[in-house]
Symmetry: C2
Subunit: 757 residues, 2 copies
Amino acid sequence: MQLKPVLILIFFLLLPNLPDASTTEKPLLGFTEKQAAAQQALETKFDSLLKSSNLKEWMQRLSARPHHTGSPYGKENAQFIAELFRSWGYQTEIEEFKVLFPTPRTRLLEMEAPTRYQTELSEPEVKEDHTSGQKNEQLPTYNAYSIDGDVTGELVYVNYGVPKDYDELKLRGVDVRGKIVIARYGESWRGVKPKVAAEHGAIGCIIYSDPQNDGYYQGPVYPEGGYRNENGVQRGSVLDFTEHDGDPLTPFIPATENAKRIPREKSNAITKIPVLPISSKDALPLLRTLSGPVAPESWRGSLPISYRIGPGPAKVHLKLEFNWDLATIRDVIARMPGAEFPDQWIIRGNHHDAWVNGATDPISGLVALLEEARVVAELAKTGWKPKRTLIYAAWDGEEQGLLGSTEWVEAHRDELQQKAVAYLNSDSNSRGFLSVEGSQTLEKFMNQVSRDVEDPQKKISIQDRSRAYLILQGTPEDKKDARNREDLRVRAAGSGSDYTPFLQHAGIASLNIGFGGEEEYGQYHSIYDSFDHYIRYMDPSFEYGLALAKTGGRCMLRLANAEVVPFEFKGFADNITQYVKSLQDLTDKMREETEDRNKSIQDKTYEAYFDPTKTYITPESQGTVPHLNFSPLQNAAERLEKSANEYQKAYKDRMDQSGEVPEKLITDLNAILTHTERALTRKEGLPGRLWFTHQIYAPGVYTGYEAKPLPSISEAIEQRNWKLAEDQILVVAQTLDRFTSEVERAKAILQDGKEKK
Amino acid sequence: MQLKPVLILIFFLLLPNLPDASTTEKPLLGFTEKQAAAQQALETKFDSLLKSSNLKEWMQRLSARPHHTGSPYGKENAQFIAELFRSWGYQTEIEEFKVLFPTPRTRLLEMEAPTRYQTELSEPEVKEDHTSGQKNEQLPTYNAYSIDGDVTGELVYVNYGVPKDYDELKLRGVDVRGKIVIARYGESWRGVKPKVAAEHGAIGCIIYSDPQNDGYYQGPVYPEGGYRNENGVQRGSVLDFTEHDGDPLTPFIPATENAKRIPREKSNAITKIPVLPISSKDALPLLRTLSGPVAPESWRGSLPISYRIGPGPAKVHLKLEFNWDLATIRDVIARMPGAEFPDQWIIRGNHHDAWVNGATDPISGLVALLEEARVVAELAKTGWKPKRTLIYAAWDGEEQGLLGSTEWVEAHRDELQQKAVAYLNSDSNSRGFLSVEGSQTLEKFMNQVSRDVEDPQKKISIQDRSRAYLILQGTPEDKKDARNREDLRVRAAGSGSDYTPFLQHAGIASLNIGFGGEEEYGQYHSIYDSFDHYIRYMDPSFEYGLALAKTGGRCMLRLANAEVVPFEFKGFADNITQYVKSLQDLTDKMREETEDRNKSIQDKTYEAYFDPTKTYITPESQGTVPHLNFSPLQNAAERLEKSANEYQKAYKDRMDQSGEVPEKLITDLNAILTHTERALTRKEGLPGRLWFTHQIYAPGVYTGYEAKPLPSISEAIEQRNWKLAEDQILVVAQTLDRFTSEVERAKAILQDGKEKK
């Protein structure tokens, strides 16, 4: 009889992380307790119907031949996908657009001096890879939307080719005007490299894959391992997305057959200088030949050479000509109308076009989406119907610049802004950890989903796995959050896949999900992104493909069935507060660094330090960084936080009661919640970036993929435009206040139902 | 008339760093104002007599043939150096010792599986290098004091081969027992690598030069540049210095002809497993053949391979046999007796032995010492005589383990401890920035010297150049100090040159000085450390050789002539306070990391994170890091700081008055000051390291070269021996108190002269 307390004690010692009662009950945001139980039963059934063999079979089918935008097999794939959807009962159509898609006619890169070297510009067949020999259908290695050009000049190595690299060049007295630059892939989105090079006066740009970034430095190379071998080349678009995404000839409007197109010469989206990607094998003879200053330590890659900057003596000739044709893109759109709210749309998308065979990018994500859609349809045959309309999309033309999704959003913008509840995106997928980026109003929702999906390798939740990753591999802040914060953060979205037109142009709450981190990823945009590669180095058993289907499927089923659409604002408010703090820290750091640098300039510390046998230019002193008035933003963030807390309390008080909630209240509440994300947009867009209307999330102008939270302010600060920064602090504060008043309206509805105010 | 104030304003704007009046007056610690003026005139004359052509000529002569310990040309060099000293009027003798110095009889390293590779183990002649072909006299590439051995085993890559690398291996389930390890040079002193390997059960150790550390990654390689080419091998001693320096057969006693030697088998200083250094060219086929886990990112060097850990499939056979002979070493000792205080010795040394031709190491420092000595002798012919005795030493056997200096110190220990005021060391020298390490009681003195020597390239003081370096290249703490602290810090001394027996064994205040940072240093301990290399990549015009002569010469002349020997304690006290703070920070950081790791172990975070397709072992949890009682040390540091301040005030009050200071007071004061450093030693030595008596400075057991300030405490903390740490806090506090009471005695003498207490 005395044993019991001791046992309990031991029990707690052994299970220190015993989930608390609330987690065990698994509440579902937007569902009553009873509905939640039904929903969870539905999800269990959903899981049980998923088959990994489908993923494998479809991947093999869809990646069997090169299927880039406008290719014969791309068209076949679109038809195959549409046929699948139709066979499952979806209302399916293929929506076509006509977009500018240049393909190469001439590609020449040779070193003319001090010795001659003719680059190969090709990726050879690998006998272990059954699709690598499909030479007739493979797109050559090139960067789409490079301008035509024929230039000859001395070569300069510019590291990643981002603005700060040019500061280092300036410090060393190296000027790229009239030169051809060679940059390595990485750090920024590739299109930033020729853009910045042109801004500095370069006449041509070469981009190569350094083995440090995805080659032998990372691990064994293909086919012995999954990393990029010396022949692998990263194709890719270099379209300038600063002003808008999508077809460069039809900004803001759908690229229909008869759309009014701007002349190609008028487009700001095409590069100003010719640009070509090459392999590390082709880069080695060029880089080896450079003399001049030894590159700074952080610039040095893993080729067996001294990385030197030049200019020259390597002199190269770059000649590029393209067929500037329009290509037809084919978006596959499959609908399952909602039984109760057909005009509330839940959209799920993944692109289907690739650069070559694209087993990983994008088929690994697409096959999970397809299996998810198949099982949803199967459930719909058993009596269950979604309350809201489900739309499954397979986008074309993503690789060129999110063309398929953007043109579709532009074609249906008004209707989407009226009806879309949320957009859920995926793209490449592999073995490892879930990552989520996008709208933080869905943070709580997403955490409830990740809590309920099991990691296929570990038999713990995918959320707990992510948490472990953040604790052991994250930044100190990540670690702190992962240990102490209830929900894992949804990261701010930059760009790089099809959520951008939905979220950042149309203001539709969006999430991008995918697994990864345990693969050997060196095939990106090369002919070696193949089925053979995928099943050896990415997700051999497709178990993470299934995990993606489970995750995406839960998202869709919950969004489709929830009584109240599952938006929540506390997590969002907390992220906003963090971003405001980051901007203050950024400004303080810039102030400190500027003062420090100016002091060293004034004290002639640079002159005292520099090696006189080498060229060094003292940097120019910069104006003092003022203390900006962040208070409007701080106050707006605090108002948001307060409202978010009150909304949560009101929601809890109203919805967690056992009695029925009036339908009218639910309808009114959903009408507001569905549109809250739109309140974060301004039709004036970001400064100089009209198309990007979202005031909280945007890709950085000089980062490309990476998110810039509160972009108008952060970029103004980085550009030292203090006036603009203070203006934008006001604009964003007003935007947040508009959002907060929507939260207040939602709260009032919840409270009104209970008590008159 | 109104113009003047404006002009003054402009003047200050243009010269923001105008030296203040006290700097302009250039006071000299230990000198009255009048004496200081005479001293500065002497130094100006000294400078004017220095000739760089001598440095060049002697370097060419001394590095003309290989001159390692025991070699014919080493003997010739000793005689040549002695003859120079004699010709200048020094009382010169060559003091001989007989030391154990093994040379290789058999060197074999071959890969037996999965393919065969026979290593070359040789450095080829380079036609641009005129001494690189002297094959008959070059010592082969080897590590001296490796044990004989004939072992075969699978290979494991262990990064730098320091203890934390073995933690990483353990995490990956890799055991080196029965294996041969391959480590890269760098991070630790080389002898640590086979020591740690043996402690973990390895049966052999290979050390190679990765191009990342001093090869093409750093810059162009020899002969196109100065960095190590693929054939360069770093020779070097692997004698275990944990217990003592010097001849392994005669610890604590001089290795005279008839000294009582311990049997070689009884020496703990010889490695436990065979060890051999190789080139990157020989390492590449071995490393390329390893499979197993991909090495952690910080382990990866610059060879064009995936760095993998193994074990195997590379299986290597290592066979080493040595001639275990005694060699005669020849220290050249040259004296100029002091005119007033012949029994107060100022000692200056630089070794003369090399691994091969050794133009940089050690001849670049030695020729500066010789020129310094020549001009000092020349001055002595013009009427001036040093008050104190000057001793110039050219040590032999430094490369094997500071043999020449150590045996000499052991031979003369009692007399040295009675008479030596200070020891000033140099070794390799090149273009760049002054660095100083050693006794911080000489920090003020050294800063006054570096303030008065002009940088040959910049025409500012070498101190201002160092300051600029610290501001632009130092750690945040360095930068803060360089901007705000009056004196640049003298860094704590580790080991790696001949100051160790003086400072850390005999307790004689010592400094190690040298220039560098702008050279291309990849010739270390190879046949390419030659005159041809030196004049292309190190200090082509010998202007930094002259700067070293000026710096060393000023030190010697000031120490020789000062009325009061120029020790000062405020800077020392400040450094001690900083070290105490660092130990607290170290303990706090260990506590935090331990707690964090234990929490992740307890929560099964590691299991949740690990990739299940790879082997990972969860680390073992460690005991909590207690809060140590640092208060005895903090209180001792505060007492020291207080006394140091009071001493400085008393000194200023007494010595800066215009009147005469009684000779008796000076004599008494000097008698104390000369011996203060001895108060920092304990005859019991450091725990387990009897020979190392200094309680403030010692090389780390597992770092080798790098200093461990307050070594007994810091190593106890790192070994998590909390009991020992607290014991040693008391011991060091007592030692500091003993030192402080010496400072108090000195202060009392200064005060007694003025007022009765």
